[in-house]
Symmetry: C2
Subunit: 274 residues, 2 copies
């Protein structure tokens, strides 16, 4: 039995989405999902106040009866609680897997920096809303139960990490930034203009000169601008990597979509296979 606690460090989850995810595992003997009530709280933009979201995450992570903490949604807000959160974690958190992406990358980064548990970039409960969302949910559940079928295919035993591009840019140089030297860093983005993607690449490549290389996930739902940018997403990534002396390693199979594959932080993702 894999027991999974779900909380929402940023945006709240709709009850119907939680029900749909719960429905998906009904009858599966190996999975027990526990949605923390905080998932459904409301406080302005957030799933409850900073204090509520922090308390729920800490409660889930410190409960030894759970094997994993799964994030309900991204949105915005995990940066507001991440530093406090890792300070409050005890031994029970070390044995856990933590799974999410998008805004929850701040928490994954803080956990990785603190050496707590196994954080990974991958699907969240809220992805049930997407087309083919059930596939994303099953991929997430499989990984939290110890499987590796959903791992990002380029992972080869080198240390890796994956982030939403904006999230990575905003945590660079802050107290949440882990040491990513020697890591293959994968980034993805959604709903940003290509000029903003270019600007974010300027920022992250200057902050991360000593990574092992960069892989580009999907840059999706790019809004139409009043004039074309003049370069593709791959050309943007290649160009800034070249300027910073970073190896551009090609595409990564991650993104704000149901196909989003799992990238455990560090080398843990492949240890099982060796």
């Amino acid at each position: 039995m894999t027991r999974i606690a779900i909380c929402a460090p940023g945006k709240r989850l709709d009850r119907e989405d939680a029900d749909a995810v719960q429905q998906l595992v009904t009858g599966e003997a190996g999975i027990d999902l526990q949605f923390h009530p905080q998932c459904f709280a409301r406080h302005g933009h957030f799933a409850g106040s900073d204090e509520e979201r922090l308390a729920a995450f800490v409660e889930c992570a410190n409960d030894a009866s759970f094997d994993a903490v799964w994030f309900a949604n991204g949105g915005y807000g995990s940066n507001r609680i991440a530093a406090d959160a890792v300070r409050q974690l005890g031994a029970a958190a070390n044995a856990k897997r933590f799974l999410g992406y998008s805004d929850t990358g701040y928490l994954l980064a803080a956990l990785y920096k603190a050496g707590i548990g196994q954080p990974a970039h991958g699907p969240m409960a809220g992805d049930i809303r997407r087309e083919y969302g059930s596939g994303a949910i099953r991929r997430a559940l499989d990984w939290m139960a110890g499987g590796d079928e959903g791992l990002e295919p380029s992972l080869d035993g080198a240390p890796a990490a994956a982030f939403n591009l904006m999230t990575l840019a905003m945590l660079c140089g802050t107290q949440l930034q882990p040491d990513l030297s020697g890591h293959v860093v994968m980034v993805e983005e959604v709903s940003e203009h290509l000029y903003a993607v270019d600007r974010l690449f300027f920022h992250i490549t200057q902050h991360l000169p000593d990574i092992a290389g960069l892989r580009l996930g999907r840059i999706s739902d790019v809004p139409e601008n009043d004039r074309p940018f003049g370069a593709s997403d791959v050309e943007i990534a290649e160009s800034w990597c070249a300027k910073a002396g970073i190896a551009f390693l090609g595409r990564a199979d991650i993104g704000h979509d149901a196909a989003n594959r799992i990238v455990p932080f560090g080398v843990a993702g492949r240890r099982q296979r060796q």
Copy 2:
């Protein structure tokens, strides 16, 4: 006679806007405006390729017959040429005033870091399009001619600098970031959601813990979101300043509008009055 060279490090200028600005100074004996042809160039998103924009800026800045370099527009792109630009500047650039805001903040930052000339945050030629835009243009021209009527009213002899919030966030930690310790830093933003403003404040306050204080310019044209953020722009600024131990000093009279006042980088703006 004040001779002013105009170039476009990011977005191009429309001919009609240049004509309207030129019209405004017709018959004024003290001002000579020279629009570099590069202002009207097109290359995808930009007013010409990186090479063209770089060459035009360097040409304007290194021409001893000009007293000031005025930026035509913001948009996006000055970060792509700023580091190369300052490396190519000679003695003639040191005697000049440089004026712009928004995306051109990357260039202002790089100039200030390199100790070249007198960079300042203030209206650009493209502001002629705004309601009451002619007032912004006259304020800019007055300052470039040596006046101080348009200075931001809180300037009191302490070192200061002003930036678009996104621009400041993107240059933090990069080779373009000047030493802002002991400075009053003013920020303004346009067309960003409040959650994005909150996220940017998280980033900049962690990067700038030793500034003398922060002032908040106008946060304008905030897009409507599907849910209210739950805090005002001032509350956001106060809250992040408090967390970082930065003094929040109140409002600044800057913004993406015709009322945008002038903030010379450093203490130069007030030297004239002492």
